[in-house]
């Protein structure tokens, strides 16, 4: 049973806000929610992580509702260089990371 479910792909335009929602209905009490970004021919790169409520850094925001059964990654004012695959992961500290299929985001001019 997949731990997370996220859309396969999303298209956007430069300057728009992109929101990617991830479902994780079976999240456990000690699980964290982490998002990674991957460009072609590179390894994934950590973007943001949260446990509950809202987290913001210089790259993105992460919104987590009280029940923690979903989360939304928000990328403000995307540019062409934000075209990548975005992965949502739910894991406890020290556990192995299991990557799903990710969401392929295409930013158009």
């Amino acid at each position: 049973l997949a731990k997370t479910t996220q859309p396969i792909s999303m298209d956007s335009y430069e300057g728009q806000e992109v929101n990617i929602t991830c479902s994780h209905n079976n999240i456990a009490t000690n699980d964290y929610i982490t998002w990674y970004q991957q460009f072609p021919s590179q390894g994934p790169r950590f973007i943001i992580q949260g446990y509950k409520t809202k987290v913001t850094n210089e790259v993105a925001s992460l919104f987590i509702p009280a029940d923690r059964k979903s989360s939304t990654l928000s990328l403000p004012r995307v540019s062409l260089s934000d075209t990548a695959v975005y992965y949502c992961l739910v894991e406890a500290a020290g556990n192995k990371l299991t990557f799903g299929g990710g969401t392929r985001v295409l930013v158009k001019p």
Partner: protein
């Protein structure tokens, strides 16, 4: 900055060869992982290690082994390379819940 270095960016090997993929991290992390990534299949976990001389099988360990003699180095070994092991191989080390990946090794077995 944490650095995870994989020994080769591109590698071409012949069927039946023994292949070593090396990964070194410079942040004293205990946890290290090896993944392979193929189009349409995402990242799949091959092996991981929580400490020196410790190893655990991931989801697809068949045809692979690993070695962790020193904390900073985690090697993936293809005992007898086959064409179905042609793939992008990614190494990662962990700090609590954050993974740091190497640049990847694209291995082609001919």
């Amino acid at each position: 900055d944490v650095k995870v270095t994989q020994s080769s960016r591109y590698l071409v090997k012949r069927t039946g060869e023994k292949v070593f993929l090396e990964c070194v991290q410079d942040m004293d992390h205990e946890n290290m992982f090896w993944y392979r990534q193929d189009p349409g299949l995402g990242l799949r976990l091959i092996y991981f290690s929580y400490d020196v001389k410790m190893k655990e099988k991931g989801d697809i360990p068949e045809g692979y082994s690993v070695s962790r003699e020193k904390k900073e180095r985690f090697s993936l070994i293809l005992e007898s390379a086959s064409t179905n092991q042609t793939s992008m191989y990614l190494c990662a080390s962990f700090r609590v819940t954050e993974a740091f990946f190497g640049q990847g090794t694209r291995l082609t077995v001919v």
